[in-house]
């Protein structure tokens, strides 16, 4: 890409301007091509073919206008991001000022009282706990399915099931929430009671009930939701493993599993990390499914099976209805915390992927 524009730029008269811009992005260099003949030839008047002044001038205007338009669109992204930060902070600060308890440590959420009291700690804890559990369950299973679809199932079956998984990844979260609340809660309640009966001596399975709308239900629903997403992405990555590398492993006498471990998994590692991080981002920000399946209590507890649990996002959905001005500000403040957490996760993921990609690309 961009080979020809480069050459024509050098051949043309716009050398000075091209030189400043030609290196970073080949396509960018060609942007100058259209302009440079105009800017330098018009005054000199010795342009090829002559008499091109009027149409060229118009083309120059349109080129500039179009470029300005795209630049404005690009800038809009930056403006939106800045606006998100500015408006969230602006609305959160007054509420944080009115808070009569410590925002980080207080366990509870009563921002609508005359003496507003609210704390993010328990919510952030619930968010991280439920997402971590969900990934712990979903990732191994998702990778297993992805490997099944890409390397074990007959090709046609793999393609067809892969398409189905893609579709499941598109199912809205409210549907999973509804299913979790109406259907899945029953087996989970039975399972929780069973765990409590035989393993109640382990604190995470302790308590006297009621069971059901617990961290366990929320995490399981979350796991089932992110499962298709992680599966679909990692399946694509596994399918991209170069056949040459798979054959190299087989030709060394590898069994199927050894071939996967030598060729497929190392090659797909950056892709797997990206998929997991995307799933984590989804899980952290998931609102409705958790608002429908968690018991919504305040208090930090590792108990997985008793009714309870809450997350930042679920709390926003639940508490928004009765929030007054300070209440909304408090929710926005919690949203800001959530935004920061997901931002950190995202940036970490990008950093990992970029670093890994350099290794595999210099290698490939």
């Amino acid at each position: 890409m961009g080979e020809t524009p480069h050459r024509s730029a050098d051949a043309g008269t716009g050398g000075i301007r091209v030189a400043s811009s030609g290196q970073q992005r080949p396509a960018g260099a060609s942007a100058r091509v259209a302009e440079s003949p105009v800017s330098t030839r018009t005054p000199g008047g010795d342009g090829l073919g002559g008499g091109g002044g009027l149409p060229r001038a118009r083309a120059f205007g349109a080129e500039r206008a179009f470029r300005g338009l795209t630049l404005a669109a690009g800038t809009a992204v930056l403006v939106i991001i800045a606006a998100i930060a500015v408006f969230l902070i602006a609305k959160a600060v007054p509420a944080l000022g009115a808070n009569t308890e410590n925002f980080w440590t207080y366990e509870g959420w009563s921002p609508n009282d005359t003496a507003p009291k609210f704390g993010i700690g328990t919510l952030a804890f619930g968010t991280v706990l439920s997402s971590a559990l969900a990934l712990l369950i979903a990732v191994p299973v998702a990778l297993g399915i992805a490997l099944y679809l890409s390397h074990y199932a007959p090709r046609r079956l793999g393609t067809a099931l892969g398409f189905l998984i893609d579709l499941l990844a598109a199912v809205p979260s409210v549907v999973f929430g509804l299913w979790g609340r109406d259907i899945f809660v029953n087996p989970v309640r039975d399972f929780s009671a069973w765990l409590n009966q035989y393993f109640g001596w382990i604190p995470i399975f302790g308590g006297d009930g009621p069971f059901g709308k617990s961290i366990m239900l929320g995490s399981l629903v979350l796991a089932i939701m992110v499962l298709p997403i992680i599966t679909s992405l990692s399946r694509e990555v596994f399918l991209q493993t170069p056949t040459a590398n798979e054959e190299a492993a087989l030709a060394l006498g590898a069994t199927r599993w050894e071939m996967i471990r030598t060729a497929v998994l190392p090659y797909g590692r950056p892709g797997i990390i990206a998929a997991v991080m995307l799933g984590l981002g989804r899980a952290l920000g998931e609102t409705i499914a958790l608002a429908m399946t968690l018991g919504i209590t305040f208090g930090i507890s590792f108990n997985l099976i008793e009714n309870g649990g809450n997350t930042i996002a679920a709390n926003i959905a639940n508490a928004f209805g009765e929030a007054n001005d300070t209440g909304r500000g408090a929710l926005i403040a919690s949203g800001l915390v959530l935004f920061t957490i997901t931002l950190i996760v995202n940036i970490t993921a990008r950093a990992i992927i970029y670093r890994r990609r350099e290794f595999t690309e210099s290698a490939a």
């Binding site: 961009g2 524009p5 811009s21 970073q24 992005r25 396509a27 060609s30 942007a31 091509v33 259209a34 080129e63 179009f66 470029r67 795209t70 630049l71 669109a73 690009g74 992204v77 991001i81 606006a83 998100i84 408006f87 969230l88 191994p140 299973v141 998702a142 990778l143 297993g144 399915i145 074990y152 398409f163 893609d166 579709l167 598109a170 199912v171 809205p172 979260s173 409210v174 549907v175 509804l178 109406d182 259907i183 035989y198 089932i224 599966t231 069994t255 920000g285 609102t287 409705i288 608002a291 926003i316 959905a317 928004f320 909304r328 926005i332 959530l338 997901t342 931002l343 995202n346 990008r350």
Partner: protein, 362 residues
């Protein structure tokens, strides 16, 4: 050097003495499975600690252990590993299919209950807790309008932004835009809802609204736009990069200015891919509940005007009905969920089929 090393090794380390290998007979895996099932049943029912589900779970674990042990004894460690991982991967598949199949089955079986004309022709206006009827007409209108407006905003903006990044942008500024598009991809939907709440509903709209916060369908569209924009930019960007260079060069060689080349040659070539990306973004936006919940206000009556007064959406309707105490509410929730899934899946399937038919370069 080479020879001394070769001499002090007696036998090649990796070479099998014979090509023949002892194999587990074909009946062995099913036999192990049967034995595992029997042992599990005996243990579980003997001690009385659980029912058939526990039997299956224990049997599965016993099967894996038994298979590994048998294969390890007969075929060796490598083969045993291969068999066990193979079994694990297959069971991961079965394990995941169960809940996902349950979701689909429940959705269809419970969803058809209220799948009648009434559901698509009436709203929830004046429907009390004891009324079995009521419908989602207002919600469907809301979803279509909000998603439509969001698409109108994001499609031109996203495509222009992608053109800037691919065709014009360079240096730090373009890198910053790419980076922040990535950042935007990770914004949780509830945060985009909060943003529009803080920006549009509480600050800007009161100016036109006598100082009252203006919950509206348009606000929901804005929130959905924030979610759709990065998807549209990224997919357009990818498609633009796939347009073969000779196409552009051909146009440049004819003296066509760059902007015309982009609009007349590059965009049409990339169009199918761009449409696919937009449709996937729309499908995702249509299923979003959280932002709509915060800024559209809900509402039970039909409101065609997205700029004034509360609006609902299908996803929000599902959430509201799910929280409703009326005994008729769950049926409405499931039917609305089925409608929503149908809408989303039609868009997704169409997008994927389109993508399959027009593959640029790959």
């Amino acid at each position: 050097m080479t020879t001394t090393i070769a001499n002090h090794r007696t036998r090649p380390p990796a070479q099998p003495a014979t090509l023949r290998a002892r194999r587990l007979p074909r009946y062995a895996p099913p036999a192990i499975a049967l034995a595992a099932l029997l042992v599990a049943a005996a243990v579980v029912y003997g001690t009385g600690i659980g029912g058939p589900v526990l039997v299956v779970v224990v049997a599965a674990l016993l099967y894996l252990a038994g298979l590994f042990a048998a294969s390890n004894a007969v075929e060796g460690r490598r083969s045993a590993r291969n068999r066990t991982w193979s079994a694990l991967i297959h069971s991961a598949f079965v394990l995941a299919v169960l809940p996902l199949a349950s979701v689909v089955w429940t959705l269809v079986s419970k969803g058809v209950e209220r799948l009648d004309g009434d559901f698509f022709n009436t709203s929830m206006n004046n429907i009390g807790a004891r009324d079995p009827n009521g419908g989602a007409y207002h919600a469907i209108v809301g979803t279509l309008e909000q998603v439509g407006i969001a698409a109108l905003i994001t499609v031109p903006l996203g495509i222009l932004c992608a053109i800037y990044v691919v065709e014009y942008g360079r240096g730090r500024f373009a890198f910053a835009i790419r980076f922040f598009v990535d950042v935007m991809t990770g914004i949780p939907s509830i945060v985009s809802g909060l943003f529009v709440l803080a920006f549009w509903v509480l600050v800007v709209s009161p100016v036109f609204n006598d100082g009252r916060p203006g919950f509206s369908g348009f606000a929901a569209a804005l929130a959905l736009s924030v979610l759709m924009l990065p998807t549209v930019v990224r997919s357009t960007e990818e498609m633009l990069r796939l347009v073969p260079a000779p196409l552009r060069e051909g146009a440049y060689a004819l003296g066509v200015p760059k902007w015309k080349t982009i609009l007349r040659v590059v965009l049409p070539t990339a169009l199918p891919g761009i449409v696919t990306g937009v449709m996937l973004a729309v499908a995702r936006a249509a299923g979003e509940t959280a932002p709509v919940l915060l800024v559209a206000g809900g509402g039970a009556a039909i409101n065609f005007n997205p700029f004034e007064n509360n609006q609902s959406s299908l996803a929000l309707f599902v959430y509201q009905q799910a929280g409703d105490a009326s005994k008729y509410a769950p049926a409405r929730a499931w039917t609305a969920a089925l409608t929503l899934v149908a809408l989303v899946l039609i868009l997704t399937v169409a997008a994927k089929l389109l993508a399959r038919r027009n593959r640029l370069g790959r």
